[in-house]
């Protein structure tokens, strides 16, 4: 799972693996509202899930995302 998750982040924001772990919403210019929607769309597609709006709002960091995805059976 983590490899797929990292792949989505890398593709969405064009980042290297070592900079992902501490990544938070708005910590880079690409992760703004437009970037957030793009990221969530890629995640839903990659893991074939449909996230609830509340979880999309709570998806505020790389780490938080890992925690939230467990709810959808992604771990």
């Amino acid at each position: 799972m983590i490899d797929q998750y990292n792949k989505v982040f890398k593709e969405a924001f064009g980042l290297e693996l070592d900079s992902l772990v501490s990544l938070e919403y708005q910590s880079i210019s690409a992760w703004d509202s437009v970037g957030h929607m793009n990221l969530i769309m890629r995640i839903e597609e990659e893991f074939n899930i449909m996230m609830e709006t509340l979880d999309i709002i709570d998806f505020s960091s790389y780490q938080k995302g890992i925690e939230l995805l467990k709810k959808y059976g992604v771990q």
Partner: protein, 242 residues
């Protein structure tokens, strides 16, 4: 040149303020002479069209500080803006309504929590976020008195943000201020505020939405462009204290 006596800044910033709008046809010597004649003002704001490098150089020479580029953007409202499937899903779970007096109190309280960080007052070390917030509250109060309408945006019965519409004429609206409330600043929902703003303006049967964004706020420019807004013009903004 257009000269604006910004009397409202006396109340907001406790300063005598003048705003000078330089036009393409102004001679640089005239701009220089006029500025020299106004050095008794506490705070001078100059708006310069991008073509006027000579005026930029003049202002730098006169020790004005460059603050921002104001970007004028416009959307022709032919149809509802297109949302992708994810945006549509989120949009469907969020509603907006016109504010009542209780909602306005909440708005002023949120604005006082410094939800805006990208305007020239907030970013100016000579002022403060608190002063910038006070200025926003006064601005909203003034515009509401003049007929602007404020709307709250809600998710699961909680206010997540707002937008305020000013009618320019029967065909054009200016959403002069909007934003997310403190608890939702990191929610990624910035696009929803723009989407709901556009939905309401579409409902009002306007043909054009015009707005102004600071270059210090590129994420809003990105959202607006993603919804089809076009950049119409740029203006440099300089300020000076005396």
């Amino acid at each position: 040149m257009k000269i604006i006596n910004a009397f409202w800044e006396k109340r907001n910033l406790d300063m005598d303020c003048i705003e000078i709008v330089v036009e393409d046809t102004d001679k640089v010597e005239s701009v220089s002479d006029f500025i020299d004649s106004k050095l008794s003002m506490n705070y001078i704001v100059v708006k310069v069209p991008v073509s006027r490098m000579d005026v930029n150089e003049l202002l730098t020479h006169k020790k004005f500080v460059f603050r921002e580029v104001l970007i004028n953007m416009k959307l022709e409202v032919k149809n509802q803006i297109t949302l992708n499937s994810l945006q549509k899903r989120i949009d469907d779970s969020i509603v907006y309504t016109e504010m009542n007096s209780v909602d306005l109190k909440e708005l002023y309280s949120e604005v006082s929590k410094n939800i805006f960080h990208t305007d020239r007052i907030s970013l100016d070390n000579n002022f403060s976020y608190a002063l910038a917030s006070k200025r926003y509250v006064h601005w909203i109060e003034d515009e509401l008195k003049l007929g602007a309408k404020a709307y709250k945006v809600e998710f699961q019965e909680k206010s997540i943000g707002f937008f305020i519409l000013k009618k320019i004429n029967n065909e054009e609206y200016y959403p002069f201020l909007s934003g997310l409330y403190t608890d939702y600043l990191n929610s990624g929902l910035g696009f929803i505020i723009i989407s709901k703003t556009n939905t309401e303006i579409f409902r009002l049967k306007a043909k054009v939405i015009s707005t102004v964004v600071s270059s210090n706020n590129p994420k809003v420019v990105r959202v607006l462009q993603s919804f089809g807004y076009e950049i119409i013009s740029f203006n440099y903004i300089y300020t000076k204290y005396n």
